[in-house]
Each structure stands twice: as structure tokens, then as C-alpha cells.
């Protein structure tokens, strides 16, 4: 006879996801969709290449506008947050052991912060290349 699965772990319900992480995921989704439309249109249709893509010079010129830099950084933060929260959610769907979950959560946080820091550095570097 197979052993019945427990209804809850002995330590109680796990806190790996809650109202706030879910709200963050659900808010960043539509927000990034709006910014994506702008980002994609500019980068793929308004460039000077025959395909519409932006050349190096196009990108440098584009990043001279501080509003553009701010929007691209906002886009970076929302898309990294949304994608990593979503990826973490997929892992939670498989109910990993607690130790693996803690490691994975920290890995997601480190990757997320690293991606954002790298992206902000890149945006500011590109902006400075035009001056």
C-alpha cells in the first residue's frame, strides 16, 4: 500500500510566495508590456539600418536623452523582476526541498540585482559615450 501524502508539512505552510510577491509580478507584467512596445518600436523600426535596427551611432545618440535612459532603466528593472519572479514561481510549482528553495531564492535575488546593476552601468556608460 502506498504511503498517503501529508496535507501539510509538519512545519506549517511555507512562505516562499505571498501577496506582495504576487502583486509585484502582476503589476510589473502590464507595465513592462507598455514599455516594451515603445522599446521595440524605437529599436527595431526607427534605426538607420535598412532593417530598421539601430546602429551603434543611433544607440549612442538615442541615449543622450536622460528621459530615455530613465525609461530603459525602468524597463530593465520591471522585466528582470517579472521574469525572475515568474521563474521562481515555476520552481515553487515543483515544491523543492526547503534547502534547495532557500539556495534558489538567493540565487534569483543575486542574479536579479546583478542584472540590474550591470544594466544601469551599461546604460550610463552608453549615455556617457556621446559626450
Amino acid at each position: 500500500m502506498s504511503k498517503p501524502t501529508p496535507s501539510f508539512p509538519a512545519s506549517g505552510p511555507r512562505p516562499g510566495e505571498n501577496t506582495w510577491t504576487w502583486l509585484l509580478k502582476i503589476v510589473t507584467g502590464p507595465l513592462l508590456l507598455l514599455i516594451l512596445i515603445l522599446h521595440f518600436t524605437v529599436n527595431h523600426y526607427l534605426g538607420s539600418m535598412s532593417s530598421g535596427l539601430m546602429t551603434y551611432d543611433d544607440v549612442i545618440k538615442y541615449f543622450q536623452n536622460p528621459v530615455i535612459v530613465a525609461i530603459e532603466i525602468l524597463f530593465l528593472v520591471t522585466v528582470v523582476t517579472h521574469s525572475l519572479l515568474g521563474f521562481h514561481g515555476i520552481l515553487l510549482d515543483m515544491h523543492p526541498p526547503r534547502a534547495l528553495l532557500v539556495i534558489s531564492t538567493w540565487l534569483h535575488v543575486v542574479i536579479g540585482i546583478s542584472a540590474v546593476v550591470y544594466g544601469i552601468w551599461l546604460a550610463l556608460t552608453i549615455a556617457s559615450l556621446g559626450s
Binding site: 502506498s2 504511503k3 501524502t5 502582476i26 507584467g29 502590464p30 508590456l33 516594451l36 521595440f40 523600426y45 539600418m49 532593417s51 530598421g52 535596427l53 546602429t55 551603434y56 551611432d57 544607440v59 522585466v79 528582470v80 521574469s83 525572475l84 515568474g86 521563474f87 515555476i90 510549482d93 515543483m94 515544491h95 523543492p96 542584472a115 550591470y118 544594466g119 551599461l122 556608460t125 552608453i126 559615450l129
Partner: protein, 128 residues
């Protein structure tokens, strides 16, 4: 008797992507999950490639020449199609999560996918 047979298991994650004979909601879930994984992988590749901009015009424009490669173009098309499908399906999830259209979620899905198909066709026409 295998005590794990027929029981929930992380090893059965493949069943998310093969919703045979299931209702349309399972197909929407499978589509959302597959595009999510694809887009996440693309996101981090994209961030790495953009680092070439900091290396000067030669490095970046050399990479741009690659984008004319048909395989790369197809990859780009896949990414854009995935973003459109995931984005619009995501809007369905947001709406139903706040109680909007819950009893019409199938129609909502078909409607959004129809919009997605139109947008993808327009994008494809402009791309090729």
C-alpha cells in the same frame, strides 16, 4: 508497487507542456509557461550581447551584421511572437485575477490570441 505512481511529483513537470485532450485553459497555461521560459533565457542573452555597445562601434556593428543571418532573423521572430503571446495571455491572467471576465475566460483567451495572431502577421510582413 511503485508508491510514487499516479502521485504528484516534480518529475511530472513535462505534463504542463502536453495538455492533450484538455480544455483550452490548459493550452493557455502551457503557452504562457513555454514562452515565459524562452523569454527569460532570451532576456539574459540580450543583456549580455548589449555589453558589446560598451566595447565600441566595431564590436556592436559586427554583431549587427549577424542579424541578417536567416537563422538569427527566425530566432528574433520567435522571440517577438513569444513576447506578444505571453503579454496578451498575461493580460487575460491579470483581468481574471481581479474578477474581470472570469466567466468568459475562454472568449477572453480566444480574443487576445486573435489580436496576437494579427499583430504577429503584421510584424512578420514588415520583417520579411
Amino acid at each position: 508497487m511503485d508508491s510514487t505512481r499516479n502521485q504528484p511529483s516534480a518529475r511530472r513537470f513535462w505534463s504542463w507542456f502536453i495538455p492533450l485532450r484538455r480544455d483550452i485553459g490548459s493550452w493557455a497555461f502551457a503557452l504562457n509557461r513555454a514562452t515565459a521560459i524562452g523569454l527569460t533565457i532570451y532576456l539574459f542573452l540580450h543583456l549580455i550581447i548589449l555589453g558589446k555597445l560598451a566595447q565600441g562601434p566595431g564590436a556592436y556593428d559586427q554583431f549587427l551584421a549577424l542579424t541578417e543571418n536567416p537563422l538569427i532573423k527566425f530566432g528574433e521572430w520567435l522571440v517577438v511572437a513569444a513576447a506578444i503571446l505571453h503579454g496578451l495571455n498575461g493580460i487575460r491572467v491579470v483581468l481574471t485575477s481581479f474578477g474581470v471576465g472570469v466567466t468568459r475566460q475562454k472568449q477572453l483567451f480566444f480574443g487576445f490570441m486573435a489580436i496576437a495572431v494579427v499583430v504577429i502577421l503584421i510584424f512578420t510582413a514588415r520583417m520579411y
